[in-house]
């Protein structure tokens, strides 16, 4: 599961959950994969994601220690910064671990890189 994906996921499928976002991550195994860097693509993704959730997620799995809490100014032209963000969003993958609902503490497992959001009630 990439951090880009995590940024989208909510536990609202569970009964009684009002927001269910963001899910807390417990990472057991992490893999670094390779994904082609495309400047325009990364800029577009940055404009879509919830930045704070992304920064916290990275920190939860032990990455992005030097990542700014807020998006830096003029990030669009800062290629080094974009590459760093790209790496964290697309190349750091949680292979095994858990996603935890912030309201019910219900656990959604991540196995072999696939998050399981099935509501087995």
């Amino acid at each position: 599961m990439k951090l880009f994906t995590h940024n989208m996921l909510s536990s609202k499928v569970v009964n009684g959950v009002k927001v269910g976002y963001p899910l807390r991550i417990v990472a057991k195994d992490i893999k670094i994969s390779e994904s082609e860097f495309d400047k325009e693509f990364v800029k577009r993704i940055i404009s879509k994601i919830n930045w704070k959730v992304f920064v916290n997620a990275a920190k939860q799995i032990g990455y992005g220690k030097d990542l700014s809490e807020e998006l830096i100014n003029n990030y669009e032209n800062n290629e080094e910064y974009l590459k760093k963000v790209h790496h964290l969003l697309m190349e750091v993958e949680v292979m095994n671990g858990e996603l935890i609902c912030p309201e019910t503490h219900r656990v959604f497992p991540i196995s072999d890189g696939v998050p399981n959001l099935l509501n087995e009630d």
């Binding site: 599961m1 990439k2 880009f4 994906t5 940024n7 989208m8 996921l9 909510s10 536990s11 609202k12 499928v13 976002y21 963001p22 994969s33 390779e34 994904s35 082609e36 495309d38 325009e40 693509f41 993704i45 879509k48 994601i49 919830n50 697309m90 190349e91 072999d112 890189g113 696939v114 998050p115 399981n116 959001l117 099935l118 509501n119």
Partner: protein, 242 residues
């Protein structure tokens, strides 16, 4: 509909090349049909509308949609889910041959864990794991699982609503909630009027961009008939009239 039939001819020409794709994991004849359809969708989506390259693409029900209908029509008692998304991955590679810089962010969603594990394996086999993400969830409630509207394009071959009535329209509703640019979906031609009116209710503009035929040969032990032809519409849904 001269324009429509010309597009199909061009697609069929491309599809012939797809046929030569080597795929050691073919177990069912349905796979060939799937590759036709998948190539059709992706090729049109990219070369006619530019909806694939550099976009975030979601595939809803990346597992056994096509087999559901095959099984239902041919009265099978048991069917194994095949990984429809495998075909998309192969076609991604095919598209790479034509596009010099091809960056696709691709996410496949399915409710079937075994279908997804195979998808993961296939993505790894074809070296596209970096671009593909797979998520196990109930697609019919995916609007609850997804907080962000992060996808530009949604492509899907939904269950046709033969087994479970209205399933394809539920998928369509979910697709519309996820996509920001376009939705490509397959629906039985016989249900076209209903699909179009549903689309309008959902606030999207439908356009039938191709008429395809699923030829499903009997490949399960319990099938009664030799084969069944299903006429299918490939429809592109957008938020503006184009």
């Amino acid at each position: 509909m001269a324009a429509g039939s010309m597009k199909l001819k061009r697609l069929q020409h491309i599809l012939e090349e797809i046929e030569t794709f080597e795929n050691p994991k073919i177990e069912l004849e349905q796979y060939t049909t799937s590759s036709h359809i998948a190539a059709c969708i992706l090729h049109t989506a990219q070369f006619v509308y530019g909806d694939i390259t550099d976009k975030c693409v979601a595939d809803l029900g990346c597992g056994s949609g096509i087999l559901t209908i095959g099984a239902a029509l041919l009265d099978a008692r048991y069917c194994t889910g095949y990984i429809y998304s495998t075909v998309y991955i192969m076609v991604l590679e095919y598209l790479k041959m034509f596009i010099f810089v091809c960056f696709i962010c691709f996410a496949g969603f399915d409710i079937d864990p075994s279908a997804l594990s195979l998808s993961v394996e296939n993505a790894a086999d074809r070296d596209v794991s970096g671009q593909c993400e797979f998520i196990l969830c109930d697609v019919k409630q995916i609007d609850k699982s997804m907080q962000l509207k992060a996808f530009d394009t949604v492509i899907m071959n939904p269950p046709f609503g033969t087994r479970e009535k209205g399933a394809d329209l539920e998928f369509l509703k979910m697709a519309v909630s996820l996509a920001t640019n376009a939705v490509y979906s397959l629906h039985k031609t016989s249900t076209r009027k209903h699909v179009i009116s549903t689309a309008k209710q959902l606030g999207v503009h439908p356009k039938v961009i191709a008429e395809l035929r699923f030829d499903l040969p009997a490949s399960y032990k319990f099938h009664k008939y030799n084969s069944v032809d299903v006429q299918v519409d490939l429809i592109r849904f957008t938020w503006k009239s184009t």
